[in-house]
């Protein structure tokens, strides 16, 4: 336990150094920049912004944890996120007559199902046709993006059919906002609950156990009469479902409508979130929060540093590389004889 704290401290200190170095390299005032980063991510409203940004990352990150634990390299989070959003928007559209209290969960469930079914497509291609998920999901991402763009200019387009976006859902359908001054909404609790559910599922249920077994050694699973195919399908389906749910939460939590630019790369970022979290749901929670804070902080920095938007990407790239590098270094020092 103590080691965890020492390591955590080391990582944080290292990250700070990396951040400072990056900022200094670009000729920004270090103290001021750090203040802006902290203000944007931690103080008062900053914390809320961190949580808002972390929510979809945690959900989609959990999805990646599930898939990767089952040995499936799902990098189709982005596509599953987009299709999930469409599923939610479709239900919101056809269900206008349904009372909001009932419709709200239905929209989220639809988002989950749509994302899950879309992911299951890649799963089926793997199980039935031996197409690698890494590749099929990369390709499906491109397809999903076009599908999304088509849907918001076609069947799901707003009633007036002018803009490439869906109609805004009525306020009553939106998730409850905890604070009017920012977008902090109850979706945060969905994310937290999902962390708990996924943890319990993976580590406390026979199915979760089998899923991890299949991920570690599908042949051993088969030899023990556990059919990998169905479990893998389940895993990627749940994975896509969580990405879809992330989109549904963003839809009902923040935008209330879909249009171009709806996805902010959540599905891609989910991968580093899951991997930095050690492919553990609790880890994904913390790395989701870390990324949320990083985005909230660096956006704030970009906004008010006078340097403009572009540095956000540099800082984020350097921070991810730095984080991974530090972790790897520590890992290396700790286990001179690494396990397999």
């Amino acid at each position: 336990m103590k080691r965890v704290f020492v390591e955590g401290g080391l990582v944080l200190a290292g990250l700070l150094l990396i951040l400072i170095a990056t900022i200094a390299t670009f000729g920004l005032p270090v103290g001021e920049s750090l203040r802006m980063l902290a203000e944007g991510s931690l103080s008062g409203g900053g914390l809320a912004r961190t949580l808002v940004k972390a929510t979809p990352l945690i959900l989609a990150g959990l999805g990646m944890v599930l898939a990767w634990r089952a040995g499936i390299y799902n990098i189709g989070g982005e596509g599953q996120y987009l299709v999930g959003a469409l599923g939610g928007a479709w239900v919101a559209r056809v269900g206008v007559a349904v009372p909001a209290l009932v419709l709200k969960p239905l929209v989220l469930i639809a988002a989950f199902l749509a994302g899950g079914l879309f992911a299951a497509l890649a799963g089926l291609l793997m199980v039935k046709r031996h197409v690698q998920v890494v590749i099929s999901t990369i390709l499906l991402n491109f397809v999903a993006l076009q599908f999304f763009n088509w849907a918001v200019t076609g069947p799901l387009q707003e009633a007036s059919r002018r803009l490439p976006q869906t109609d805004r859902v009525p306020d009553s359908l939106m998730l409850f906002r905890l604070d009017r001054q920012n977008d902090l909404h109850t979706g945060v609790f969905v994310a937290l609950a999902s962390v708990a559910v996924v943890t319990v599922f993976l580590f406390l249920t026979p199915t979760g156990f089998r899923l991890r077994l299949v991920g570690d050694n599908p042949r051993a699973a088969r030899a023990n009469r556990i059919e990998p195919g169905r479990l893998q399908l389940l895993a990627i389906g749940l994975s896509g479902g969580l990405c879809g749910l992330a989109a549904g939460i963003e839809y009902l939590g923040i935008t209330g409508q879909l249009g171009y630019g709806f996805s902010q790369q959540i599905g891609f970022l989910a991968i580093p979130v899951a991997l930095l979290g050690g492919l553990h749901p609790i880890g994904a929670l913390f790395s989701g929060l870390y990324f949320g804070a990083l985005f909230a902080g660096s956006e704030n920095l970009a906004r008010f540093s006078g340097f403009g938007t572009t540095i956000v990407f540099v800082i984020q790239g350097v921070a991810v590389i730095g984080f991974v590098g530090l972790r790897a270094l520590i890992e290396r020092r700790r286990t001179p004889e690494a396990a397999l």
């Binding site: 319990v200 570690d216 050694n217 042949r219 030899a223 009469r225 004889e337 396990a339």
Partner: protein, 493 residues
């Protein structure tokens, strides 16, 4: 002749909490076959890995012809003239046999290379030895025995004057072992130094010029093996050196019940490449009996086992349990697969979780839809104790255990469930004496409790010792063989 090629002095190596080697010294001479003996986890492999450059010792020195050995530099060491056959095959599964041989003999990274040409010496040697190898076959389609042959051929065709073989005989049939030993003797006579690890005392007695024994990482002694009675290093003394004391072998053949159990009716099973691996095979294993099936590896053993436990589909015929077909009357099945690392274990998962592979179905370890982790841990610790698995903690990854202890994890988990049908393939491969006895006892216990046991093994002594009925498999067909190893050997074409 007979000058010291490798001089090992005071080698110590610690892995985390395990002191794998402690102050080990030995001399390996040219023109000598030097056996290294010890229980599972005694440190044999570690010592060999030190010699070959894959493990850097904490203390000690090794000199090769008077020059210090560059620890941790396998390339330099190979260039100096050390070849090694690893306990876990260093074969690229997706490569053809000749590519694997070529990999060991690359003339230079930038030079053009034809795998078939580089593999020629190995193919020729195989022919000389009477071993069958298919140079262009993909390695992962080969039975373990064939892979072992390739692995050995790779080393034998190297230019090294020191040859280290870590358990090369574990999966070879008797004939193949004879062939290998013949070649090794030849190489010895040419003046090469040969270091050989094996668990079977009979093999050691048959070939070794000298023996060094390790026990729990410590050097016990070096001596010249002699037949029983001369007061020299006979089998019994060697065993004592290895273990400290010798457990009693038990033989309780209380076969009584003979209810109908497993019945195979003209089954046809295909292998991974679609070939008919098991052909028209009919066999009955009554309850409370052990049916042993011998034969050289690669004659359909794996496919037969997998078909019986239901992992591999039947193309024809049927598998019945107590007269009922297939799924209807499914018995409680336990299965110890032949490839422990490939089919048996999830190496990155913990000992506990690997035990749970069987246990998670057990209703005693579940509450509602959830696993009872506390109860599971208690259950797992019980198994570890009962089966004497040497581990630090049940949450250690199983990949870190010695091969023998890995095998025990599988055996423990499979036999923990009071199986009605037990299918075991080479259950004691690579196990030391004590562990082997224990596993045999467990198999008998299961049989005595009324299980039908199908034992498939390349180890004829094992078959002879455990089986009530014996057969051998040849090219996918099963033939009865009279009880007794000698008869079995005679029966194999």
């Amino acid at each position: 002749m007979n000058d010291v090629v490798l001089e090992v002095t005071g080698i110590g190596k610690r892995f985390g909490a395990v002191q794998a080697l402690r102050d080990v010294s030995a001399q390996f001479r040219s023109g000598e076959i030097h056996a290294v003996l010890g229980e599972n986890g005694a440190g044999k492999t570690t010592l060999m890995n030190v010699l070959a450059g894959f493990v850097v010792p904490d203390v000690g020195t090794v000199t090769y012809r008077g020059k210090p050995l560059p620890f941790g530099e396998p390339i330099a060491i190979r260039r100096m003239g050390l070849e090694m056959v690893h306990q876990h095959f260093m074969l690229v599964p997706a490569f053809s046999v000749e590519e694997n041989v070529a990999l060991a003999h690359i003339p230079g990274l930038l030079r053009p290379l034809r795998a078939s040409r580089l593999a020629e010496p190995a193919v020729r040697l195989a022919k000389d030895m009477g071993w069958e190898i298919a140079p262009s076959a993909r390695t992962n389609g080969l039975p373990v025995g064939a892979q072992q042959r390739v692995e050995i051929l790779k080393a034998l065709t190297g230019k090294g004057d020191v040859l280290i073989l870590d358990e090369p005989t574990a999966v070879l049939g008797p004939d193949e072992i004879d062939d290998l030993f013949r070649v090794l003797r030849g190489l010895r006579d040419q003046g090469r130094a040969i270091v050989l690890i094996a668990h079977k005392l009979s093999e050691i007695m048959a070939i070794a010029d000298r023996v060094t024994v390790l026990r729990r990482g410590e050097f016990v002694g070096t001596g010249v093996p002699t037949p029983v009675g001369n007061g020299g290093l006979d089998a019994r003394t060697l065993a004592l050196w290895m273990v400290g004391e010798l457990p009693e072998a038990r033989h309780d053949r209380s076969v009584a019940a003979s209810e109908e159990g497993l019945a195979l009716e003209s089954i046809l099973v295909r292998g991974d490449r679609g070939e008919a691996a098991v052909r028209d095979l009919t066999l009955a294993v009554r309850r409370g009996t052990v049916v042993g099936i011998g034969g050289v590896d690669g004659n359909g053993q794996v496919e037969l086992a997998e078909a019986v436990v239901g992992v591999r589909p039947l193309v024809q015929g049927e598998v019945r349990w107590r007269g009922e077909r297939a799924r209807a009357g499914r018995p409680q099945v336990a299965y110890v697969p032949q490839d422990r690392r490939g089919d048996g274990l999830a190496l990155r998962m913990s000992v506990l979780e690997n035990l749970l592979v069987a246990g998670h179905r057990d209703s005693a370890l579940k509450r509602g839809p959830f696993l009872r982790l506390g109860a599971a841990a208690r259950w797992a610790r019980g198994l570890v104790e009962r089966f004497q698995i040497k581990i630090g903690s049940i949450s250690d990854p199983v990949g870190g255990l010695s091969g023998g202890n890995q095998q025990k994890v599988i055996v423990a988990r499979e036999l923990s469930s009071e199986p009605e049908l037990l299918v075991v393939v080479n259950p004691t491969r690579g196990l030391d004496l004590r562990a082997t006895r224990y596993v045999h006892d467990q198999v008998r216990r299961a049989r005595n409790a009324g299980a039908s046991v199908l034992l498939i093994s390349t180890d004829l002594d094992e078959i002879a010792e455990l089986s009530d009925e014996t057969y051998y498999l040849s090219r996918g067909e099963v033939r009865p063989a009279a009880l007794g190893a000698a008869a079995l050997v005679g029966g194999v074409p």
